[in-house]
Structure formats: C-alpha cells, structure tokens
C-alpha cells in the first residue's frame, strides 16, 4: 500500500477501471467504495477527484461519479495522438541514443522475439510494453516520456484486445525490427514514420478495434 490511503485508492480504482472491473458508464458510489475498501469517504473522494482530473471518470456536480466511456471513435483519436508522441520519442531516440538505452532496447526487443516465436500473446503483450517504454526512455525527454507512459497506460486494455487479432503478433514483431534498425541507424525521420504506422490504427485495424471493443 502507498504512503497515504488516497493515493492507494486512486491507483486501486484506476486499475479497476483499466482492467474493466468497473465498466464504462458505471456509477461509482462514494459510500460503497469507502466501505468496500474499509476507509472513510474522505480519501475516496480525493481519489475520485484525481481520476476526474486525469480524465478516467467524470464527476457531475451533486450527481456522483461515472466511469467515462471513450467509445471507439475517441479511442481511435487517442491512438492517433499516441502514434504521434511515439513517433517523436522514436525520432529523439534515434538522435540521442546512448549505450544504456541501446542495450535496453536490444534486450526488450530480444524478449519480444522469443514471445513472438513462441506465439505467447500474453508474454508478448508484456514484452511489447517494455519495448515501447525503452523507446520512450531513449528519447531522453522526461515530459514526453511521462506523457507517453500515461497515454500508454490508458490505452492498455485496447492494446491487449488488439493483439488477439490474427497474425498481429508476427507483423508487430516485424515492425519492431524495422523500428530498431531505424533508431540504431540514427535515422530519426524513418523511426518516426515507422512508429506512427506501428502504433496508429489505419484501415482494417480500426474495424478490428471496434469489433474487439464490442466483444467485451
């Protein structure tokens, strides 16, 4: 548990939302949450205020908090922005790559290769996250890294669904290879272009997303 209950509750409720334990549109009753977690309403309210500020829930004055339902279109928009940010991170990584970052990327890339070869989509899901985080870090921009991590976290559930799509695992890894090549070659523009394509959702992948979201 974190050092104060409010923060702990924020993480706890955030996880519950991101893992779909609280469904979009669901009402979050302060008293219910308080008794459920065995605390008073005060830290619950503080947690909810923070989640509202982040944009995960909406607090309608005097009418309680509900989990925001982004909807397919909004999720698409979020991937669009994510693609742009990752593109920037990639281009910065290509320009600023140092030994530590290079090793981190190589290591996580290697783990992705193993999971992909094994066809283990759960393992790949995790390794893929680490790979992308390594790129954020390699960009050497704290603010950008922070923004990327936040959006990445928020898109996590949808990303997971997407990996279930046929062949996505192997194509994803092939894209990773090209991205690594571009970054290691110091080609920022190419890294940016590839990452935009890798993260963004174009063409049929949008219908895949919609279908997987509807399936929940």
């Amino acid at each position: 548990m974190s050092e104060n209950v409010g923060r702990w509750l924020r993480d706890e409720i955030e996880n519950s939302i991101l893992s779909n334990e609280f469904s979009p549109g669901e009402r979050l009753d302060e008293t219910v949450l308080a008794t459920r977690f065995g605390v008073s309403r005060t830290p619950v309210r503080e947690a909810l205020m923070q989640l509202d500020a982040i944009g995960l829930i909406e607090i309608r004055p005097r009418r309680g908090a509900v989990v925001i339902d982004p909807g397919p279109h909004r999720v698409y928009e979020m991937f669009e922005v994510m693609a742009e940010l990752e593109g920037l991170a990639g281009s910065l990584a290509a320009r600023r790559l140092d030994k530590t970052s290079r090793e981190a990327i190589t290591a996580t890339h290697g783990r992705c290769e193993q999971s992909a070869a094994a066809g283990d989509s759960d393992a790949y899901y995790y390794d893929n996250e680490e790979f992308h985080k390594a790129i954020y870090a390699a960009g050497r921009s704290d603010f950008l890294e922070q923004q990327c991590l936040q959006l990445h976290r928020r898109l996590r559930p949808y990303r997971r669904l997407q990996l279930r799509v046929r062949n996505r695992l192997s194509t994803s890894f092939l894209e990773h290879c090209a991205i690594v090549d571009a970054i290691f070659a110091g080609d920022g523009d190419e890294a940016r272009r590839l990452l935009r394509g890798h993260v963004g959702i174009q063409g049929e992948r949008f219908s895949d997303l919609v279908a997987s979201m509807a399936a929940r």
Copy 2:
C-alpha cells in the same frame, strides 16, 4: 463561481499558478488557502489533489504541496511535445477542413494581422491563442483538441514572455500566413511541418526562452 467550491478553487489556484501569483517552488499551505478563500480545508485539499493529478503541483506525503518548477529544460520539452501535437492538429485540419473551421481560421488570422500591424503585442497574444485554438478545433479530434488546449494553457505564461522578443511578432504572423496557406491547400504534411517549426523552440529561441524565464 462554479457549482461546487472544490472546482472553483481548482480553477482559482490554477490561474494563480499560471499567472505566477504562486511562484514555482512555493509551498501551498492548506490552512492558509482555506482561510484566504473563506472555506474549510476539505475543498482546498480536493483542489490540490486535482492540480497534483494534472501535474501543476506536487503533493509530497505528509509534507505539503509545492508548485512545480518546470525549469527551462522541462519547458523546452513541453514545447517540443506541443509542436508535435499542433503539427498533428494542422495536418488533420488540412485534410478535414470544413466551411465553419475555414471561416474561424480566416477570422482569427485576420485579427492577428491587425494586431501584428499595430505592433500591439498584448492583443496579438490573445488573437494568436484564438488562431491556434481554431486550428485545434479544425482537426476534428476531440481528444487531440483537449490535449492541445491543456498543454497550451500550461505553456501560456512562457508563450507570453516569448512574444516580447524582438521581431517575434512579425515573424510569427508571417509563419501564420504560410500555415493558413498549407491548411487551405489541403497540404497536411506541409501544415504539420510548418506548425512544428512555428511552435517548437529551435536554436536561438531557446536562449530567448531561458533569458525571459530568468528575468522573472
């Protein structure tokens, strides 16, 4: 005043921070704020939690809240991300431009022209904001627009300082012209490139920024 005190306080304190009434690094005492605004500590705490979630202040457990000092380097990183997001907005605007957005851009661009011609940097500061907001809206991505507005708001104080730099007003307007041309021509890539250059801080403009920040 907003419908509930917490939200009102959040806006109030946020404005105070962004207008430099609360300096970076300054301690925000809950009791002091409560008495100052004539309310109890409860809504003050809720406001602070939200500002912490947004990233404007940092709440160190049991040690109170302090206004975050981004420092020149972090501000540079923020402008870098802003440039990327505006670039995306511009490219989307070029592709999706409709009559309403076109008129909004034309109108705000016209107002910028007048302020620039008059050499009125305060008026230009305001008109420039509206011009950029018109581009965000033209992109037709609610999420992107939201992100742009949030970051724009956070960078507002630094943007203002920058306009004071010699000749910045006229060069800024010339850049606007090229951006408008690209968007109206439907050239998304060019709009993106120009906006990245317009918003980002390269070369000597970084030292201008540092100097203006130090001057406060």
